[in-house]
């Protein structure tokens, strides 16, 4: 169990990791479509009223591509022998737990609550009906999101560390810069393409 969830990059070949990652990404995109989720950025998740079938698939494709490109550049600057296939496997696999967050929007529940919260902030007091259960749901979802985000980063860094034989502070700095650049680039691309 420990090997699968916490040390996948140490113990499994890139072929196995990419196969599982691709299957999980397709499934995650399908779930995102079913639950109206958009992964509109490497670190983003938003729920929307309507979306095309291909939108979550394109989102995840763009996110994986940008994450791979920037992490690979960071990796090459750290360790010349880094293989892009190891970085790609890392990026595909690390995102899998994040896809589970789509389930939070069962029956558009989270979207409805957040829209009502937006109404409150806009001082439009009409049609506001947020109960204790709703608040509790948001809190639980937020906690769950943090746990999965931390796990996402853990896997991403673990994979990057093994792919680059990273030691010391320099690779960590490059890793953080790469993630930030991937986030900005993916977000801009998704909004520019506007599909």
């Amino acid at each position: 169990m420990k090997k699968i969830f916490f040390q996948p990059f140490e113990n499994y070949s890139e072929t196995k990791l990419i196969s599982i990652g691709l299957a999980g990404t397709l499934l995650g995109s399908l779930i995102a479509f079913a639950f109206h989720a958009r992964f509109d950025g490497v670190l983003d998740l938003h729920f929307v009223n309507e979306l095309h079938f291909y939108a979550p698939f394109t989102d995840n494709f763009i996110n994986i591509i940008f994450l791979t490109i920037f992490l690979f550049i960071a990796a090459i600057l750290t360790y010349k022998k880094t293989r892009i296939i190891d970085i790609l496997a890392t990026c595909i696999l690390a995102r899998l737990p994040y896809y589970l967050l789509s389930f939070g929007n069962i029956n558009n529940y989270l979207l409805d609550i957040t829209q009502q919260l937006v109404n409150i902030t806009l001082k439009n007091t009409q049609a506001i009906s947020i109960g204790v259960i709703d608040v509790l749901y948001i809190v639980i979802f937020a906690l769950f999101s943090i746990v999965l985000l931390v796990y996402y980063f853990y896997l991403l860094f673990k994979g990057y560390k093994i792919a680059t034989n990273a030691k010391g502070a320099k690779p960590i700095v490059f890793f953080i810069i790469a993630i930030l650049l991937a986030e900005v680039s993916s977000k801009l691309s998704i909004y520019t393409l506007n599909y």
Binding site: F9, E10, S13, D86
Partner: protein
């Protein structure tokens, strides 16, 4: 078989060979010989090098044999190379 000590248990300095003997005729040679670089590695690292040679220097084959990923095996080899270079 007992593990060959390579570090002095008192001061952690690298040990040297001072005596060799023949099991057949009991000839004893005394002197001062430095341990070869490979002998100064840990037993685990020595076994790794042995495996590496036996697989014809193929890290992919080694990774499959050890049930580890390719970068894990390559990193191990890099760490051993760094150790050998520092000796």
């Amino acid at each position: 078989m007992a593990q060959l000590p390579v570090k002095c248990p008192s001061c952690e300095n690298t040990l040297e060979v001072s005596q060799l003997s023949c099991n057949n005729c009991a000839t004893v040679i005394s002197g001062k010989y430095a341990l070869p670089a490979l002998m100064q590695l840990s037993v685990e690292d020595q076994n790794f090098i042995l495996q590496f040679v036996l697989t014809g220097g193929s890290l992919k084959k080694m990774a499959a044999q050890l049930e580890k990923s390719y970068p894990t095996v390559r990193n191990k080899l890099d760490d051993i190379i760094a150790q050998l270079n520092s000796k």
